[in-house]
Amino acid sequence: MSVLSVRGLRYAYPRTNGDKPFHLEGIDFSLEAGDLLGILGPNGAGKSTVLRLLFKALRPDGGDVCVDETPLDLLTQGAVARALAWVPQELDALFSLTVEEMVRLGRFCRGRAWGRLSAEDNRQVARALEETDLTPLRHRLVSRLSGGERRRVLLARALAQEPRVLLLDEPTAHLDPGHVAELVTVINRLRRERGVAVAAILHDVSLAVSWCPQILVLKGGRAVAAGPTAATLTPTLLRDVYGVGARLLTDGAGGLAVVQFDHTLERNQS
């Protein structure tokens, strides 16, 4: 039984003056417990829009989204938040809470009167802080943190929701290689131990190749490829999607592949 299934998802941004109309259509995928799907594609392909459609930030124009076989329309916003947690790219820290206060907001969907936290809530918050290595920083103001630390706060807040599915929007942007490795470890442990399914937008194609068993590739609001990463991600596809030549390098042992883009090539017009 799939935790999240998406069939024929369609969406058009309301037309505003001067903007080119943007249509998203024909998005299909499904996630089972523990799955990891990498969503790839150039800027403006509609990747973030797909995620926002899943947690009801946007209302689809068509198609079916089901969480545990229940259509999204039938779920309250709170029920959606208990099932799906979104980790956005940026944390807007205008009014700055402390790290712990921010992570506690993840418990809102678990509904206690006036935001009072139960013992269970506190345990989950402490666990989320521990898993993201934020326990020593928990009394710091979020506005005083580095970009990488803020990303971890966003992940911790999502973990505190105890979701079945994590929706990650470029989780590794602005992270150094050490923190990317930490993030991958944390996410993999969640998949293994708690069966959390993950959909992650990635710009780092090499990371997608080495990490994601499945990928979905978008361009211009359409899915141009989907399937097992090794079989789907070919140099031809990469050239079509990103408009730049690419080579896939293996480490010789047959498993790991690294994608090398040829930035000196002229942009392919197709």
């Binding site: 947690f55 807007d92 205008l94 009014f95 206060e101 907001l105 509904g111 929701q161």
Partner: protein, 325 residues
């Protein structure tokens, strides 16, 4: 941490001192025989219970309403400059209230209607990007200034057309002279104020989510649309009630929430109630200053809060500008 633990009791006792001083001080000082005056019949007791106490209650209610409305608006619009006065909501409420008064309609609903209409007008003028984003902070304040100029000129026109005595009365009320009303008029308004404040406190946890933005709020399980309407109506109602009670008092809603956040951080479950308390202290204190500094003459309380608030506003404005680069 030690300091933070002491801050709570310190704030509470400082506030209590202001309230007691406001009851004791004034044209007829009661400081020496305060308990005597309170417990024995006579002119002292009359002054205390018929003049000073209603005035302190009135000032406290007005301050609590304005400061809580300011805290609500700041969180709602993610705008540190939001304030019922700066957004033109107080001006709209004043105009509504005066029109209500001249037409013989009950003033509170007229003032609340004026507040709701002007808040809607500001939102319309400073509309966001059409995708549900909050309007830019400075743009909202500009729209509020325009609206305030508009409502002020209509008020000036009305005042110029009324008889001199009546006009002066309206003018003094607009400036926020805390003239003690009878208990018969005061008590129902205080009850309404308590209801509005209670509703705002109940919604405070959702304000923490709303101030993150619409998408994060949804992702965390809150549908922002309904709660936003609740906040809009309640902050407008709070402003309308405050204006009905005591005219336009500027900057209370701007200054107080920032002070509250300095004391307890940014969790609105603490910011809103503390703002209400500090707002009450500020207005009662400003009134105390207003009626003692030049006794027996009185300086309207709105003049005192403007003297405190305007420099503070300029500092905040500079900070906003620096943020914009």
């Amino acid at each position: 941490m030690k300091w933070a633990r002491a801050a709570g009791p310190l704030t509470l006792s400082a506030g209590a001192v202001v309230f007691v001083l406001a009851l004791a001080g004034g044209a007829v000082p009661l400081v020496g025989g305060f308990w005597h005056a309170a417990t024995h019949p006579g002119p002292g007791r009359d002054i205390l219970f018929d003049i000073r106490l209603p005035r302190v209650l009135l000032g406290g209610a007005v301050g609590a309403l304005l400061a809580t409305a300011g805290a609500g608006l700041q969180g709602l619009f993610r705008n540190p400059l939001a304030d019922p006065y700066l957004l033109g909501v107080s001006g709209g409420a004043a105009l509504g209230s005066v029109i209500g008064f001249l037409l013989g309609v009950a003033q509170p609903p007229a003032a609340v209607t004026g507040a709701v209409l002007s808040l809607s007008a500001v939102l319309l003028l400073a509309r966001g990007d059409g995708r549900g984003g909050a309007p830019a902070a400075t743009l909202m304040v500009l729209a509020g200034a325009a609206l305030h100029a508009f409502t002020s000129s209509i008020l000036a026109f009305i005042l110029s057309q009324t008889r001199r005595q009546e006009g002066l009365g309206i003018l003094f009320w607009l400036l926020g002279s805390l003239e003690a009303p009878s208990y018969g008029r005061l008590v129902p308004l205080l009850a309404l104020a308590a209801l509005v404040l209670g509703a705002l406190f109940l919604l405070a946890p959702t304000l923490n989510l709303l101030s993150l933005g619409d998408d994060p709020a949804r992702a965390l399980g809150l549908d922002p649309t309904k709660v936003r309407w609740g906040f809009l109506l309640l902050t407008a109602a709070a402003t309308g009630l405050a204006v009905t009670l005591n005219g336009v008092i500027p900057f209370v809603g701007l200054v107080v929430p920032h002070a509250a956040r300095l004391l307890v951080g940014f969790d609105n479950r603490r910011v809103l109630p503390l703002s209400a308390f500090l707002g009450a202290v500020l207005v009662v204190g400003a009134d105390l200053a207003g009626r003692t500094l030049r006794a027996p003459e009185e300086i309207p309380v709105g003049v005192v809060t403007a003297l405190v608030g305007a420099p503070f506003f300029l500092i905040l404005l500079r900070r906003e500008r620096n943020k914009l680069g």
